[in-house]
Symmetry: C2
Subunit: 643 residues, 2 copies
């Protein structure tokens, strides 16, 4: 896709964006504030900009008169970039924005790290887990009436040097028919042993030549959403990806309520069935999307937190939520996908990622494996931030981990107008330093109906940096704007007026919301700090941060540092791996090397129970400020505050 | 039980029998003919004998007058031995029997060979397949909150030196509950690897100390009957044994009809379900018999012919009955007993004995393993005689096998009054060389209602040796007895008159019946001969015969040699192992050594398809005589015939 340069005047800030990007998003990306409160739906008419040179597509609205259009006015939220353009932010915003006082700070999100098959090969990490061989076997005769399976095994021995084979029962069952369907021309699927001295398993036999179709499925069993990917084992390409809400959601949003339900008679079986049902829905979607034949799937790898894994494997979870928080097991044996209830061929083995503890589960281990953390020499902080935040610190030599309960704020929970990152959620925000008017971007560019985690984080950071709230998260009661007000004894900021929302109410952010966010970020920061100090390190020693999880993808790194969620460091040292659980599941599908290494990694990873670590509460209390009680930890924020 | 000596006069033949034995059976055993045709029910009154010294119990009947009783007359069929006695066979029989002409030949059945755990230990063959350990684990604390399974594995590592463990999913599922039921005091069941470099599996965990209860189940899946044994793994004792007719019987008596049925839609699943259902009935009976807790069963081993095995494993059997007779597989992977549908704990692994070919199956391999044939230096002929006779020749260095279709005669099939070996079946027979009056023993000592395989074999041998039939099996038409007669153009011998049977008809043996037996024995003998000549040997080289199967147990060895079913050799060199399939299954339960060796044995065993071996038909034709066309092969018979 072609890219174009936008120059924003009068700041002379340039940004390159993809063709078709909306001007308002480009401005936010560039750190240019333009008042806008309807989320990009074009109804507030505030985001007027002037196209000074070049052309944009659309951007018209009945909020613009023909004369305005004639002069080059467009609504930034509707206008799409189709070539290089110069855009002037009109005087109303320009002055409001206090252009002279403000450093334009382009948005920094984490660099996205992706791994692929070629890279694995280059790094010598490629050990194919599943291979297909096309064979033309001699047909039996009275003089040569070996058993079908013996014929197959002997052929593989003689012609392919396969000397250590075992044959699964489903293959034995298929062999008599499959061999005779196409004159003993068949494709055999071989599953390589994960451990070196084990045997190769013949897991499938298909008539004819199917060697060009060899797929894997990777599944992330999230508490909220279950994602699946169909992967082509030939080249590592993702052929399809889909997600479905975990059907367990109707029995509770978090793992605790699920465990409580599972403790009731029949509850565990219900939880198992719901999770399995959701995975099957995901499977059916990825097969539909890709048009792939499910029979060509050779392996499935699943990763989830310890609760999700125990529920899906029908393992009694009650002790996960009771001190001393003991999981049933950390390793799960390979099992047949059909035994698990998955709608896959009966030759498919399902592998679950191992866990570390009750609250550091297979999803995190998958992230550690998939992101390559376990192989890096760099001292790395790995964070997967959600209702529970899991933290891993270490490198290829050692690993330590902990989980802390951040509460649901990062996912929009416990926030007055909080919502998940879905259409209509405020996902980005900027505030005019003079007028305190907002610039609001929503997912889907529609009128806002709530605020999601990343929107909340950015909003609080902006409010703090604009001096609207203080380091305790309390509103400055003296500012002259009707957007800041007290209602029922609680102070709040109006993100969008009633008529610019989908909810027929003013969309606000309250002091209580802000307090919840501060608790959440404080818990995560204190968790990192505690884990670091337990291993004798400090934030300054960290060479790299890996962010995983849905939350990490949209987070404006500068803002996350501004509120003290992330330690201050070079944003280029922060990478985002997306859904770490899914990534790890995918990588395990591509090479046995990761399956082999993971057991060692789980042995190596030391788990710290923060609730059993005395210093954690002290660190937590100290972190209940913006950005932190100890401002010296955040020199850049300190410098900005000074100015 | 005490034993007593019976002296039969006037022959002065002595035999020692167990207390309570009936006189008529003892006489048959001793080779003493006493006319008797009602099977021992006491209705014909022919078997009068005189007790000359000592006492017997019972033996009274309304066929004996008070005077007779006073004189010491008793009915041999009803009288039981309770002390040493002298018994005179009265003059009527004495003269009839041509006492001076006849050599008394005591019945020789094969020596029974049994193997037990102590013997395995002495021979260094004991590798326990399953072991139980009682453990008192430390309870978890906040400082020590390892996963339950990790706690278990670590404890086994530290306190029991178990360094290579894997834990099955059913164990993981049980662990959280089982550990907490009795304060972390549990019994762990460990399944040892069959192959040396593999890991030990933790297959079960039970609260408290259950180490004294560790059982195995052995199952023989016969075409007709399914037998099971409950075995105590501590000492190898059989705690219970039961058999049930294979429920597949209602779909046909032999494997071919079962295969044909399995080829119909749903037929295979039906056959599987019927076999599994029968095994479950057998299991329930052995648990009831022994009062054992099914949960204490740790392993199950099954053996059956190739068809029974494929049907029970739901493997398409159609090619087993079609040239070139290709089985799906000869090795079957271990599988979970519950996956098979067996009503056993979900921790139990089921192992099926491997097969050699379509008609030499796991039952025969089990016999070869269980009887120790595969370890003996002696050149051995192993025979399992039924509708299909399987033959193995070899020793510890090499093995060759073949199957031949004997037809159903040995099991009473295709015989006018043929029946299975059940109550009322003529099972033993002797004929008076002068009067041609019979001595008939039936199973259960009731009036006869048919004749079973061993009765048929003995009857034909006696008729032949008494000159009633010639070497082609044709009746001597000139004998003066109304027992030999022609009916509807077919000659026959009356075993029992109408009023002495349960069937309200004369019970007869026809020339056609005799012809069928000759075909059956000819097929088996020719099979042995062909297999021997294929490996460059002859009968004289055989050092030992092992008989397996229900048929072998009752066979009078001299009679089997007399008709030419077995080669003439010292009866002491013939051993009977009973149900070889069940024996092998039992032995595999006791030691992994046999499981380890069996794969090598199947590789070593060369299968010969008799239908593809040209000489077989020649050998068969030559064997269609009593005892054989070449009488020099049977010098003892020749000598008796000369006399």
């Amino acid at each position: 896709m072609s890219r174009h340069t936008i120059r924003f005047l009068p700041y002379d800030t340039k940004i390159r964006v993809e063709s078709g990007e909306r001007l308002l998003r480009a401005a936010m990306e560039a750190g240019v504030h333009i008042n806008a409160s309807c989320g990009g739906e074009g109804v507030c008419g505030k985001c007027r900009v002037i196209v000074e040179s070049g052309e944009v597509e659309d951007g018209f609205s009945d909020r613009l008169s023909p004369e305005d259009v004639q002069k080059g006015y467009r609504l930034a939220c509707r206008a799409r970039v189709r070539g290089d353009v110069d855009i002037r932010v009109p005087i109303e915003s320009e002055i409001d924005a206090g252009v002279l006082n403000r450093m334009v700070s382009p948005r920094k999100t984490a660099r996205i790290q992706q791994a692929d098959l070629e890279e694995l090969k280059e790094q010598g990490l490629f050990l194919p887990p599943v291979e297909k061989h096309y064979l033309e076997l001699p047909e039996p005769t009275p003089e040569d009436n070996l058993a079908d399976v013996t014929r197959l095994v002997n052929y593989l021995k003689i012609h392919h040097g396969e000397h250590r084979l075992v044959v699964d029962l489903p293959v034995i069952r298929k062999t008599p028919v499959a061999l005779r369907e196409d004159h003993f021309r068949i494709t055999a699927t071989l599953a390589r042993p994960v451990q070196e001295n084990r045997k190769t398993r013949v897991i499938n036999i298909q008539p004819g030549d199917t060697t060009d179709k060899n797929f894997a499925v990777a599944v992330d069993i999230g508490t909220t959403t279950i994602y699946g990917q169909l992967i082509d084992l030939k080249n590592g390409h993702v052929l399809a990806e889909a997600g479905e809400f975990n059907a367990q959601l109707s029995y509770g949003e978090d793992v605790i309520t699920r465990i409580v339900f599972a403790e009731k008679p029949g509850g565990l079986e219900k939880m198992e069935a719901l999770a399995v049902g959701t995975v099957n829905k995901v499977l059916s979607r990825i097969f539909k999307q890709s048009g792939a034949d499910p029979d060509m799937v050779s392996t499935v790898t699943l990763a989830g937190n310890t609760t999700m894994t125990q529920l899906m494997l029908r393992i009694e979870p009650r002790h996960l939520r009771r001190s001393p928080y003991v999981p049933a097991s950390t390793l799960y044996p390979p099992l047949r996908a059909v035994d698990l209830g998955l709608e896959l061929g009966d030759h498919v083995t399902a592998l679950f990622y191992p866990a570390i503890s009750s609250y550091v589960g297979g999803d995190i281990v998958a992230g550690v494996m998939g992101s390559g953390l376990y192989r890096t020499p760099k001292l790395t902080l790995f964070m997967d931030i959600g209702t529970n935040a899991e933290i891993v610190i270490g490198n290829r030599d050692w690993l330590a981990c902990a989980a802390c309960s951040a509460g649901p704020a990062f996912e929009g929970g416990g926030i007055t107008f909080g919502m998940r990152a879905a259409k209509g959620a405020v996902e980005d925000f900027s505030i005019d330093r003079v007028t305190f008017e907002p610039m609001v971007l929503t997912i889907g560019d529609v009128r806002p109906r709530g605020i999601c985690g990343s929107g909340l984080l950015t909003a609080v950071a902006e409010l703090f940096e604009a001096g609207v709230i203080d380091s305790k998260g309390k509103f400055n009661r003296d500012l002259e704007t009707k957007r800041i007000r007290e209602r029922d004894g609680v102070w709040e900021y109006v993100l969008a007026w009633e008529d610019q929302t989908q909810i027929d109410r003013d969309l606000v952010l309250t002091e209580i919301d802000i307090e919840n966010l501060i608790r959440a970020k404080g818990a995560v920061y204190a968790g990192c700090q505690t884990l670091l100090s337990e291993v004798g390190l400090q934030f300054a020693d960290i060479e790299q941060i890996i962010l995983a999880g849905g939350f990490g993808s949209y987070v404006n790194l500068e803002k996350a540092m501004a509120i003290g969620l992330l330690p201050e460091m070079d944003p280029d040292a922060i990478v985002f791996v997306g859904n770490g659980s899914l990534l790890g599941a995918k990588m395990s599908s591509l090479t046995n090397r990761i399956r082999r290494d993971v057991v060692e990694v789980t042995r190596k990873m030391t788990n710290f129970e923060l609730s059993e670590t005395n210093s954690y509460m002290d660190h937590y209390i100290a972190a209940l400020f913006l950005p932190h009680t100890d401002l010296d930890r955040f020199p850049k924020v300190k410098e900005r505050m000074r100015r």
